[in-house]
């Protein structure tokens, strides 16, 4: 009985360590997923404000690839670099949003003014061109 116990004990320890490692890995994976999703959510807010997030998305994707390849230190480095870049973009996001809003308002104002400008200036322009093209004409009876 004692001999069996002494053989079983190391095996139980190995099983317990493996189970703990599995739990720790699963937790790390969940935590990593959550951090990436948080970064993606912040990127979504930046994207809606009109900020170009293509480079950060690429960086985040590389972080995910590194994590899948088991290169956790590189994954963490890339994820932190992405989060830093997101923080930098968030600092200028409102300015970009206001600029985009102003550009859009300007485009709409120009588009809305086109019919009005045509109504006011087209007859004048037409008359000007009509008389200009005939300025050398001579009136005869």
């Amino acid at each position: 009985m004692t001999k069996v116990s002494s053989q079983l004990f190391p095996a139980l320890i190995v099983v317990a360590v493996l189970a703990m490692m599995h739990v720790v890995c699963a937790h790390a994976e969940q935590s990593f997923d959550y951090r990436v999703a948080e970064a993606a959510k912040r990127l979504g807010e930046l994207y809606r404000k009109g900020v170009n997030v293509t480079d950060v998305v690429r960086l985040l994707d590389n972080a995910v690839k590194a994590f899948e390849d088991g290169n956790y230190s590189e994954a963490s480095r890339l994820l932190n670099a992405s989060l830093n870049r997101i923080a930098e973009l968030e600092a200028v996001a409102d300015r970009i949003y206001m600029f985009n809003l102003f550009t859009k308002a300007l485009i709409i104002a120009i588009l809305a003014a086109i019919p009005l400008l045509i109504y006011i200036f087209l007859p004048r322009l037409y008359l000007y061109l009509w008389f200009r093209s005939r300025r050398r004409w001579v009136v005869r009876r």
């Binding site: 959510k41 979504g44 994207y47 293509t54 998305v57 994707d61 709409i108 588009l111 086109i114 045509i118």
Partner: protein
């Protein structure tokens, strides 16, 4: 000929329509119908010429196509399962079979990606005609977990011994 009133009215009407159309296009929502896409391609990343039979326990090379049109960047994963015709996923429920492999990716809006994969294929409880199922999942930040998008592709294949 002085500018005719009718011609002027027509020009004005056309300008009003063009202006209204331009304003509508400028003010349109960025993504009125958000959706994701998953596709299965052969090992050359082309549609068609899929393998029909493989040896039990062998690896099969395929290509996965994923696209994001959700209107914002998304954190997605493709989950590989082997299923039978009774355990296929549908638009609301993923396949109950266990995940064998998975690939994560972050895609920007309007971005698509193809990547080659090598997946193990084996019989399921002596069923030789199995379905290789690739499900698309999205991580929900609000729920803190992966959510099945309802998009999947599958390829029926005969497993030889």
């Amino acid at each position: 000929m002085i500018l005719d009133e009718e011609v002027f009215a027509v020009i004005l009407a056309v300008s009003i329509i063009a202006s209204a159309l331009g304003i509508a296009l400028t003010l349109r929502p960025l993504n009125p119908e958000p959706f994701t896409v998953i596709g299965l391609l052969n090992e050359d990343c082309r549609i068609g010429e899929y393998p029909k039979t493989v040896l039990n326990g062998s690896a099969l090379k395929l290509c996965i196509y994923v696209a994001n049109y959700l209107g914002e960047p998304a954190y997605l994963k493709v989950v590989y399962k082997i299923a039978t015709n009774t355990t296929l996923p549908n638009t609301t429920r993923p396949s109950p079979q266990p995940a064998i492999m998975e690939w994560r990716l972050v895609l920007n809006n309007n971005e698509e990606k193809e990547f080659k994969v090598s997946v193990p294929v084996y019989m399921l409880s002596n069923v030789t005609r199995v379905a290789l199922v690739f499900e698309l999942w999205q991580y929900s930040y609000a729920k803190g977990d992966w959510i099945y998008t309802g998009r999947w592709v599958h390829l029926y294949i005969n497993v030889g011994v």
